[in-house]
Amino acid sequence: MASRPAPAPKRPSQLPASKPPCTIHPSAIIADKAQITGSHTVEIGENAVIHPWARIRAEGGKVVIGKNSMVYEGATVGTVDGEDVLIGDSVNIETGAVVEARSVGDGSTVEVNAVVGKGAVLGKWCRVAPLECVEAGEQLEDFTVVYGDGRRRVDKTTKEHAEIRELKRAGQEKAVQAMRTLIPNAMAKWAG
């Protein structure tokens, strides 16, 4: 008798219809309720943490998340109709932020509810303050701080003092370690 493959069991509704091809480092932590959608590849680096309800959209292009980086709750990384999004190492995308940038340099932080437009390029060690906006296509030099009502300044302290950069990096590692203990890993759901 010809065996017909049994119909696949109904998936729970929270899984997206299209699961993108993911390359996830075994040490990364991805929460169960995180959402990864799209058809392009998604790469998640070593020790990265994706919080619950974070959204990674690989629909317009691929998404790469560097090591020791974190994507917080409700944040959106990736474009729907744009290009690739590359997030560097030790980067924090905080709660509610929307990042559609072409790339975000190492050590940068996009703070709560900030918006980074399509194709923008953020340098290293940048900082976008809460609710700030980076225009589409805008290029921020290394060590730029976006704050106030759209003001920009150069962060002299981090630029000129290597020990400050080292401190920030170490601080980010500690934060990542703390988050790893708090978020149960559901990486298996997304791997492979």
């Binding site: 303050a129 704050y147 962060d155 002299k156 302290t157 003092h161 400050i164």
Partner: protein, 560 residues
Amino acid sequence: MAATFPYTHYACPCSNLTTPASTSISAKRTSLIPVDAPEDSTFNPHDPRANYSLSPLDRLLFCDECEEIRCQRCYGEEIIHWYCPTCLFEVPSSGVRSDGNRRSSSGEEVEEAYILQCHYCDWSSLDIGVHFSKPTKITEQLAKQRKSRTSGGSSAAEAQPLSHDETFANLATFYKEQLSESGDPQNPYSNSPYSSPNNLARIMSLYGGLSVNALKKTREKPQPMREARGEEEGMLICSFEDKATDDALLQSMQNLDWANTTTAEQRLSAPANKGARLVDALWPVATRLRTRKCRRCHFCPQYLSYPDPKLKVGNLRYKIRALALNHIPRLSIRSLQTSYPLPNPAFCLHAADLLQRQPDIQPHITRQYILTIRNPILEPIRITLATPTTTPGRVASRVTILCPSFTVGPAGDVWDEALSSSTTSMATIPSGNGGRQAAMESLTGRGADESLDRQPEAGKVWERTKNSTSVVLEIVPGALKSLPGIVPKSEKELEEDEMEEGDDVLEVPIYVRAEWEVSEEHDDAGDRKGGKRIVEADGNVKKEMAFWCVLGVGRIGEGG
């Protein structure tokens, strides 16, 4: 002066203490009440000096011990404590004296050193090259570093202008010297009957004087105070010679953008920042502390207002709060003819209503007003009112109080009022027939159709509620312009005829006297006054209180 009519302003008794004004040139100026009884003189609300002693009820406090109203000039403010507005940390006054009125904040660690860093924009004190050896006493460390910077710079050149702090110190010393030389009296509350030390010295010198020095001082004419004349006295000379630094500054201001220049607010934040034109030159300034103040009567050390020092409480609570509102009989006036209730500006829904001016009062037409006196204390009081027949000032209006002497019931709990409903007798309302009309009467306080028919009668109270009594005032406003006469006026008379601002406002000064009796146990002020009270036969203490107040009725229009 209140913007809306009608208003009531109360006169503080401090106006009694001022010496009578010296004979002035214009005959229009009448002096305020001298120390004698008010029957001799009238409070003139149009006097330019009257504004200093009249205040609305919400500005007045009341001293229990002196049993008098205290206006803003009669109480002093003292600081209870200082606290940081952000973290509500209380700084003891010794800390304030040493550190200045600033609060220091903590910083991040860099190796063995500490820095100040902003969590928002990532500025740190390393940008100006400042780091600290320990996380405490930051203000002190900052001050030391600032001093070493500015003094290090100026010691290089000789002709450097003096620093801001030195200039300030020189100027302060100079002014102190000037004050002592010109003999300015510092103590406004001296008890001497002579109005100034110069007078006293002059009179003393007539009798031979005290000593050689005193005589010498009186013979020398005291120099008037002068201003600083040189750098050592504290004058800051602005010179145009230092073109090079100015040019460099202008050049850098052109190159850097607007965001890099300082705002006036930043420059004013600290004396160190006064000359800083570019953001790079700003010096970190600690958070300004806030204070909590208490108010004390000037004449006795009684607290009039003492807020609760506990900071964590959400609302500001008071340990002591003695408002005039709760101690003196309160007057208010309203027109008899207008509809009831009057629109209160606080409850206006549309902005247009606020701007609507009340119609002007027509001169020479008799109008009747209801004057309501409310009693805030727990005893019934006997009120006597007095007012001059014609209002003082340029425009003379005739005022008659139909019932100048009456009683007002005590204020009490709400329960008392509800339980003893029978005693809230409206004397003028006829007994109801138990129907709807009677119920309406008890709610609104008077008969529905009665108010139209009632006529004010002399000697009778208009309306009486539990703790307030209303009487009727008849006012005939005077005309603004005097009638043209046959004889043309001389220049002087024309001058007097000119209206000054505020002359068209109809203000009625009223002298209010309240008498009441307090049973001996309840009287607290008696012990403090040292047995001054007189105890009656039945164990009650007679108390009395009197003050002037001014009722603002309205503006008199043209059309006499």
